[in-house]
Structure formats: C-alpha cells, structure tokens
Symmetry: D2
Subunit: 368 residues, 4 copies
Amino acid sequence: MNGTTIHLNGSGPTNGSIVNGSKQYHTDETATVTTQSPKGVNGVGASKVSANGVHASSKRCLWFEEELEEDLRWVFGVSKILHTGVSEFQDIELVESGPFGKVLILDGKLQSAEADEFVYHESIVHPAMLYHSDPKAVFIMGGGEGSTAREALRHESVKKVVMCDIDKEVVDFCREHLSANSEAFRNRRLELVIDDALAELERREDTFDIIVGDLADPVAGGPCYKLYTQSFYETILKPRLSPGGILVTQGGPAGILTHKEVYSSIFNTLRQVFKYVVPYAAHVPSYADSWGWVMASDHPFPTFSPEETDSRISKRIVGDLQFLDGQTMAAIFALNKHVRNSLAHETHVYTEETARFIHGHGTAQKSH
Amino acid sequence: MNGTTIHLNGSGPTNGSIVNGSKQYHTDETATVTTQSPKGVNGVGASKVSANGVHASSKRCLWFEEELEEDLRWVFGVSKILHTGVSEFQDIELVESGPFGKVLILDGKLQSAEADEFVYHESIVHPAMLYHSDPKAVFIMGGGEGSTAREALRHESVKKVVMCDIDKEVVDFCREHLSANSEAFRNRRLELVIDDALAELERREDTFDIIVGDLADPVAGGPCYKLYTQSFYETILKPRLSPGGILVTQGGPAGILTHKEVYSSIFNTLRQVFKYVVPYAAHVPSYADSWGWVMASDHPFPTFSPEETDSRISKRIVGDLQFLDGQTMAAIFALNKHVRNSLAHETHVYTEETARFIHGHGTAQKSH
Amino acid sequence: MNGTTIHLNGSGPTNGSIVNGSKQYHTDETATVTTQSPKGVNGVGASKVSANGVHASSKRCLWFEEELEEDLRWVFGVSKILHTGVSEFQDIELVESGPFGKVLILDGKLQSAEADEFVYHESIVHPAMLYHSDPKAVFIMGGGEGSTAREALRHESVKKVVMCDIDKEVVDFCREHLSANSEAFRNRRLELVIDDALAELERREDTFDIIVGDLADPVAGGPCYKLYTQSFYETILKPRLSPGGILVTQGGPAGILTHKEVYSSIFNTLRQVFKYVVPYAAHVPSYADSWGWVMASDHPFPTFSPEETDSRISKRIVGDLQFLDGQTMAAIFALNKHVRNSLAHETHVYTEETARFIHGHGTAQKSH
Amino acid sequence: MNGTTIHLNGSGPTNGSIVNGSKQYHTDETATVTTQSPKGVNGVGASKVSANGVHASSKRCLWFEEELEEDLRWVFGVSKILHTGVSEFQDIELVESGPFGKVLILDGKLQSAEADEFVYHESIVHPAMLYHSDPKAVFIMGGGEGSTAREALRHESVKKVVMCDIDKEVVDFCREHLSANSEAFRNRRLELVIDDALAELERREDTFDIIVGDLADPVAGGPCYKLYTQSFYETILKPRLSPGGILVTQGGPAGILTHKEVYSSIFNTLRQVFKYVVPYAAHVPSYADSWGWVMASDHPFPTFSPEETDSRISKRIVGDLQFLDGQTMAAIFALNKHVRNSLAHETHVYTEETARFIHGHGTAQKSH
C-alpha cells in the first residue's frame, strides 16, 4: 500500500465505492472512500444551513471599514470577496456586502454599491443632459466604473460618449465584473480613452455638449485636485464645451456637516468661471451622507415644471429611471437653507496653490 | 514620622514649599512636596498638549457603536462621557462625540446630536404648524428630550404645549443637561406630563390643533408600536384633534434602502385614517440616513409658494430657523421617485396584530 | 466602425499598436489602443506603490473580527481572501492576515494561523508521544486541518495515524490549500476517515497508543460536546487505548480569566475516568489567550529531566521543533497557582446532561 | 400661574401630591406632579431591568479599542467611565469594562485591569525580592499606579520603598480612585517622589537592594526610552544598587510574535551591563499578550527548588499571592524554545542612538 487510505464510512449505496480523479487525490493513493452520514444529519450534500438546525445564521466575521472622518467609521459586513485587482494607481475590490449588495471599493473607499448606485449616476448624468436642448457629444472625465457612461448612453440624442479614465485596470476590472455595465462597455457610441483627463482635454480639438466630472474627490497627494481648479476650468475645460454646453461635476459630500469640506469650494470655483452655476444634492445611503453635484454653463438653464421634466425624460431616455423624475429633480435642486447659506458665503477658490482636501487616503483615485 | 513622604523635587521658588489642603493628602502625612521640572519640559501646569511636543494628538480609544442593521455599524469616537443615568425604561447617556458634538444616547441608540438635531426637530414641528392657520394648542407624544417642545414654543400663536413622555428620568436628565432646551423646560406655556401618551390622550377631554408623534420607532417588544396603529389613530388620537387639526409623526428611516422597514407602513396606516396625508423626509447626518415624517389631517393642506412659507415663518416663529425655509420645505416634501413609488404601493397597515418592526434593541424607548 | 474605440494614448513604441485577444475585448471592436503615461508617473506597468509616491501604504479596510466574549473582540486586518469554501457543517476561509500570516477560519472562528500554529500543534501532539515508551498507532479525533497529523507523523516510531474528521470539505480544503501540510496528507502512514469520531471509535476494534482530541470546543448546539463527556471517555474511547495508551485532548482557553469556561471541567471529567491526568497550557498569540490541553492515562507518566526530554526529542522526532524542548515542556506543565487552584477545586463533570459551553457561535465545528 | 405644570398622573397615594425641592424645579413653577404607572409596568422606582420584561440586556454601545499593531485591535465593551483626568503628560481614564473589571487607561493604552493586574505586579516585584537575601530598600522607577509599591510593601524585610513617577496627576488619580492601592499609598514606609526617575537616581546618594523598572515601554518620542539604555544602566542605575542588589525591569511584550519588538533588545542591553541576567514572561490576558520582565545583577542568582520558593514566600510576604508560587516561578523563568533562541541571538543594544520602539502613540507615558 503506497498512499493515504481515505474512508468516508457510509451506509447505503456509496459504502465502499471508490472515488478517484478528484484533483487533490494523487494517483499513488489507494483511495478507499466511503461516507457515513453523521447521526442526526440527514443527507450529505445538503446545504450547510439545512443540514444542521443550529446553523441558522453564521456569525459575521469580515467587515469593511471606511474611515469617513478621523473619528467616524462606516462599517459593513462582507460575505464574500468577489474579485480583487491592483492597478498602477489603486487597489480594486469587488465584494458582496450585507447591506448594499455588490460593492466596488477603490483603495479602501466605497465607490459604488449595487443597491443605490443609481442615485449617484442618475444624478450626475441626467439633469445636465435634460437641461441641454440636444446633447449629442458627451465627455466623461474619469468614470472608469462605466455607470456614468451607461446613463449617458441611454439618451437617444447622444452620438458619442468619450470616457477618459487614467486607470486601465479599473476600467478592465469593471468591464469584466460589473454586469450592469457590460452592455454600455460594448456600445458602439462609447469611445474609451485611458489617460489623464486633463491631458486628453488639452490634446483634443473637438467640443462637447456635456462634460461630466466623475472624478475622485480632491484628496491630498492625489493628482485629481488639478481637475477642480479655476485655471483648469477656464483654460482647458471650457474651450472644449460647445456653445450651450454644460459642465457637471461631482462635488463631494454635501451633508449638513460636510458640505464645507470641498463642496462649497467647488461650487464657488465654478462660480468664478461660469455665468450660471447650479448646485444640487441627494442622500446616497451607501456613502453615509448626502452627495453634491454642480452644473455650470455660460448659457442660462431653462426653467421647467416637473411635468415638463417628466415629458423630456420619457421622450429622450431609453428605459425607466429609478430615482429621478420631475418632482425629484425639483427636490434635489432645492438645497436646504443651511447648506445654501454656506454656499452663498463661500469665498475659497480652488487653485493649484489653495487646494482644499477631503479626509482621505492620500492616493490618486481617478474614478469616484 | 507617620506617613508617606511626598517629594516633588523642584528647583526654584517651589522647592521645599509645603503643599497641603489637597483633599487626597491625609493629615497624618508629612507632605514635603517639591517639584522638579522634567528636563526638556518647560513649565509645570502647562496644558498637556503644549507641555511636550510629542502629544500632538492622542489616539482615539473610546468609540460609540450603533448597529443600524445586523451587518451595518455607525461608529464614532467619544472623547468624554458627560452624564449617565438609568431610568425604569432605558439607559441614558450624554457623551461628547468627535464628529457630532454632544450626543444623547438612549439604550445604545443615538437620539439626538448637538451638531444636527435642528434638522430633525425643525422638520417634525414647523411644517404642520405652518400649514395650520392658527395653532394654539400642541400635544407632543414623547419628546422627553425637550427639543420638540422648544421648537413648538417658538410659535407666537401657541398658548399651550403639552409634552407627555413616559420616562421621567429622561425628562429630568435632559432638563438638567441639555442647555439648549433649558429655557423651553422653564417656559410657562409648557405643561409636562409623565405618562404613557396613549393613556394620557385617552384620559384628556381637551383638543389640540397639532399633535406631534415624537416617539421611538416601533420596535419589537417595546410598547411604542401601539402608538402607530390604525385603531390608536382612529379611536384615541383623532378625537383629540380640533377641527382643522393636524397630526404629524416621525416615521423612522426613509432612505432609499430603509423606507420599507416602517416608514411606508406608517404612511399607509395614516392614509387609512385621514383624508389628507403628506410624507416628507430629510437626511439627518448623525442618523446615517434620511429620516421620514408624515403629516395627516382631515382638512386639506393649503398650497403655498416658497415665498409664502418664508413669509409665514418670519411672521410666526421667533428667531431664525437653521434648516427650514420655503425652498427647503418644498424640497423635503418632494420625495424621490423610488420612495414615492414604494409608498404609493404599500399595503401594510399597522394594527396590534400586524406590527412591523425596525432593527433595534427590543426595549421600550419612549422619546426619539 | 462597429464597436468601442479604445485609446490608450501613449508615446513610444506602443503608440497606435493594436491589442487584441484580451478576453474582455470583443472581436467587433476596433481597438485602437495607445498608452499615455500620466504626467509625473514614470512608467506604465510599474508597481502601484512605486508609480506614485503617495501610495506608501494603502488604508486597511477589511477586518476580521472574532467575538471572544460578548464584550471582547479580537480584530485583525485582512489583506486578501485566499480561498473560501462551504461544507455541510461550516464556512471555511483562508485569508492573508496582517499580523498572523495565512489564517484558517471556520465559521467565523480563527482556527489556525501560519505565524504560530506550531505552538498549538506541537503542544497537542508531542508531550503525550514523548511520554509514551513507543507510540506506534495514533488516532486523531478531528484534526481536519492536517497539522496534528503532520506533527504525529514526525515520530519515527509511528506506523499508523488515523485521522477522523466529520467534515470532508474542510479536509479537502486544507489538503489543497495548506501547503505546510501537503506532505502529511500524502504520507502513506496516514489513514483518513470522514466520519463522526465517536461513531468511528465505536465501530473500530483496533487500539491506539495515543488518541488525540483535536476537536472544536464544546459549543452549545454543536455535536462536539459529546466527545468531552465522561461516558464517552469511559465506554467508547478508553477501550480503544492500548495498554499504556495516552489520551490527550485540547481543552479550550486556559487563561487566568477563561480557564473556568470549559478547561477546568474537561480536566475534572478526565480525572473521573483516568488514574493519571496532566493539564498543561501555553499562550497562543493568535488566539488572544493561553490555551489548555489535558493528557490522561491509567499508566503513570514517567518523570523526565528537561535533558531527557531533549534527548527523546532528538532521537524520535524528524526535524526541529520550534516551540517545545525539555525546558519549555517543563514550563507548560507548570500551571500557575491561580489556574492550578481552580482546577483542583473544580467539581463539574461533563455529561450529556450537564454540558458546559464556551462562548461561541452555536454551530457544529468539528476541527479545531 | 407662572411656570411649567408637571403632572405625573398617578393613581393611588401619590396622585395629586406635590413634589418640590428637586433641584431642577425652579421655585416659580407650580409643580403639580402626579404619577401614573404605565400599563403593565408594576411599580415606579423599580429597577430598569425588572420593570419591563424586555430589557434583559441592553446592547453594548461603548467600546474601548487599543491598536496593538497597525492591523491588530483589542476591543472591549465599556459600561461606565468612572473617572477621567488629564496630566501634563497623558490622558487618564478609569473605566468599568465588561471583561476585565475596572481598567486604568493612560493615553489610550490599557495599563492595568482589576481582573488580572496581580499577574503583572506579582511578577515584576516578587521574584527579584525573593532571590535577594534580605531586601530592605526598594526603588521603583515609574509605578505611579501604586500596585508595584503595594506588592513591595508586602515584604516584611522592607524598610523603605521609594516610588518615583514623573506624573503627579496619575499618582494622585490612582491614589484617589484605585482602592486596592489606597493602603499602600498611606504606608509610612512609602516615599513618593514626583520626578523623572533618571534625574532622581542621578541626584540620590543612597543605594537600594532592589530597583524596579515599572516604566512605559520605549516608545518613539517618549522620554522613557532613556531609562532602557546601556549608558543609563551603567552610569546612573548601577551605582545606586547596594552590593548584591538586583534590578528588575518590565520588558514589553514577550509573546511568540512580539518578543523582538523591544524585549530581546532590553534583555541583550542588560546582558552588556550585568553579569547575571534572567528573562522571564507570563501571559497577561488583558494585555492580549505574554509579557516580559528581566532581572539583572552582578551577584549570582541562587538556585531554589519550588518548595524553597514557597517557603520564602510564606516567611517573607504578608498575605497570599494569587499568581506566583514556587511552581509558577519555575514556569515563568522557563521561556519557550522559540523566544529563548531569539534572546540568545539578539545583538541589538539600546543606546540613545539606536533605540528600538514599540508600536505606540508617541507620547510620554511614565507609568506602565
């Protein structure tokens, strides 16, 4: 005898049968495998939960923890790590979370959660596109996850969406693993560029009806903050807007307690550059905060009734929106008194010298 | 010599001086106390931080953790426990938190935070009172913290605010320790009743223009859920509303992911009892969620422009509001499409037999 | 053109080259892929850390948390989930931890850590085997991880090691993924049985010089506690010991504060059944506690000097031990006064009616 | 009527009675206070737990977290903050913990826990004193908590214990709040000096039979590391040892995974200065690790049997020890093979230039 003898002592038909070919059993093993059902456990192969009455809920033991502030943590249970990757810029993880379904994590920060990403992505894309009379060309700075492109591509008027993200690995990772966006990644109208959005905009000569800033928050040490400065907006971005074109950018946390971290400054910086600037915000549960966006244009924004907004949505957008409609859009544009006052009185302007940073990890995150 | 000799070896004027009278030094000690400045530490009695360069920031070591869901935790640093108490119903703690200032905790659940309690309390009180033509009498179910009464008392039309909380210790604790409410607790128009609100309403014969449900969420095992049932609203509460009277109640979490826990049911239950029912919601940062309220009346709610709301606020309310104004009120009444759809399709009605519960601690919380 | 255009705007040789064959790029894409090094980032393909100076250490975001007691948690960072599995009995995870290297987790409880598993496994195996005059046949109850078998197989006198674990998936998982044990799993002297150890011992007719109880702690609801009862030891296990045979079992936490949970009872139970019973303990860092074992026999244990122990080790055991030698063995057998007193005064005996349980997850864990 | 009316609607004898004089009720209030027992709650003033069946166990919400390593946390529930203080050097907290009873915390690091402080303090004091032929004079560097002095004062031979701690506030705090040490603090043989131990030893001209280093671990930025250097031991400490005198110092974590942080270096440094150096260690549960100490002398340590140790203990020490006896002392002196090997091969020597630091908070902790 020249190997481990493996008995799975079983009564019944499997008793004494020989199992081989299983990859972990080496050929020099005389694998006598028989199976014995443990007493009181009715059937091998039954799922773990049903096999023993006691295992109603196994104890959560893996937790994702995001440090929102130095002394504020957002912690949720993780039941499975689905995929992991590393890029030149950041760690990439897709995990199955308890409360938020699949969650994309970049460098330890929750980026997007299956359960509520529609709030963020409908909000960053549709208002600007609905306010535009006929958006044909869209440029997305960042957005490597693909969800922003997905929403833009739902507009029938759109001929071209250029998505420019610096991180090829994030883009590849999301293309492969985020099934909700796989159709968008294959869409013929999508042009995908792997580059620094600033360099790409500087290089291009075409213009866009809508430019979307789906970038990481300005974080100390990260290159992203350059894409929030007055000079960038004036000298690089604005020349790439078509007449009547609209810029919309994410603006970081916009809650009662957090809107002064960067949001009010981003708003105020845009106010220096554009004639018409519209801040808006919505609560995104998985971010544990309200989130802010800002639209800006040198063309006045039209005034719609909620009904007109609903009508534009049904005419222009393929499929149903989950979060936005006319009434919701009116609501997210109506910031509360407290935040509105702060924005009105903000004097800080983002320049390369005066950047203001959010609490974060000091890394170059390129997609929000 | 009959005691410990205490030397604080010091150079200079304190050398050899005798310190006594300090309460911890017993009289039988020959306390020869001299002080020696440690090398490199310039000055005794200097504050800890300035005394040694290294102590820039001491490590946070105490954390408050609230389990929002079984697998979702909201965790913040606590720098100081200010006051603690125990009542017949719950543990009471007032702590100094890092991100939210002073925080009131009842049975391990954050009730109210200095930094943003104005969002919750302005929202629960002012909309109903502003929609009412002339609110004179207000009844608060729960509200032991005092903040709801404080807001109601800001209305000049109000002659009487009855606040009925079951937990005397919470009321006493908040009266003593929450300085923001101390004036309200002394206000002559406040009538404070320590009792079960249900029993109190059943017993009373007067009626109210506004009844506010500032109660704990319906939690399994807690008595509070009885104050959310259809029969309570119909047979006990409604008879206590004056003609044109309005009920407003807190409704639990109303976020994209949480509004079906209890909020949609509370809304739907009220819809069975009242002709006009208005749900509204706002993000309360320290709750890590959007929060919901519902107004209900058999009298139609008037339609105001934001300007008219602002005008009523300035005419009726003493002092400035921080969160609410006409625009904010329009915004919080405009629920997003996702939540609005859920509410429209909710069929569950709270009865004593069909109560639906929020994730919680199974305890009798009486004040939110 | 019928697909996404992918530009990676690059200078140099890759400029304009076409990449295809990558599984995520579909054949209908005109993949014009060029790469542009982002400004300030010197070289594509460089590792993430070196590419941007700021990414010195990415923030830990995944944590493993074990609840040792209701109010005591042991929490460590996890950098990678290496493998996961589910068996009929438990969840199985192999993770890369920060402080302990690779860690095997069964149902949320840390079982074994690369960094210090040698402490536990040398301690459970070698003392009994060294005290025995000539151990030839070894039976391991549980031990599915394979480390206990590995240590037993290092004894040159051993002809046969029977390892009987109820959980085939755990055994297969460890055989495949724990490289330190792969040789042991292939060893011809190992006989592997998948069954309840109690049933297997009842069924067998051969006897053993050493029987090792490498089982899960007695946990409420788990079947394992039956393998700690007086009647099991007397009527099922003892008949399977050869003359001079020794039983050794793990005994749960044996720290100053935890030894009364189950350890003192296991010791006292064995004292009812065997003439000679020897408790011993050692601190296992990854368990955050001292751990206890008990040896028992009807044959007196010989008295060795540390030098004699060292001599036996070098004569009998292949390779070097990391933790145990003569001096260490003397030390772990010398329990401290506090624990020794508790053990001396323990009166509880494990029977099926009086089982005492450790704080745990209420699940059937079969391998420690 | 000029104040809040307070009704506690009650049936029975308290109904209608007037309560006044309570400090929070102002004299201008017509405090009509009546009490109504809530339905189903039998009796006001009953304890919280018994009053309502549901409150069996309130959810733990306050946690103490110590970061042992960057990715290893020791977390326990805190039920009460008993006392807090701030000194020139550190934050001071005494909390009631779930698993460890009262716990003293200095600058976020657990210093001493009621449940197991006897392990640390018996171990740091008694071995050296028992090995000495007749210890009369003891000098404690640090030890502000008072427990080390308490143990030393239990030796009947001792005429004088000088305890020299830099932090007067810690000493005062512990004197006032640690009842276990209050008798020691009042003991006439205790001489308490508030100073840097290094300066004090430099200044003194008397010598000691035993010098105890009950100092904080060497932490980057803290002044304590100077009390672990070769030159300190040689030029300042050694001259203060009487002939036959023994130094014993705490040596930081001594676990399988942690003994190389500072313990092996402290041992090796002492080996450069003293002829006879004895390392020993024991698991201290509340530290989540084994802890190390080192005895050093130029006089050889005698060899005792455990019985002789027991005999010395009973002759010399007042009262019973909880942890140490002859057998325990033999065990803690027998380090395991792994740690012993590391110590034997350690080459690092502490000097002011080559200090090695433990993971910590960068603050000046003076008492362990």
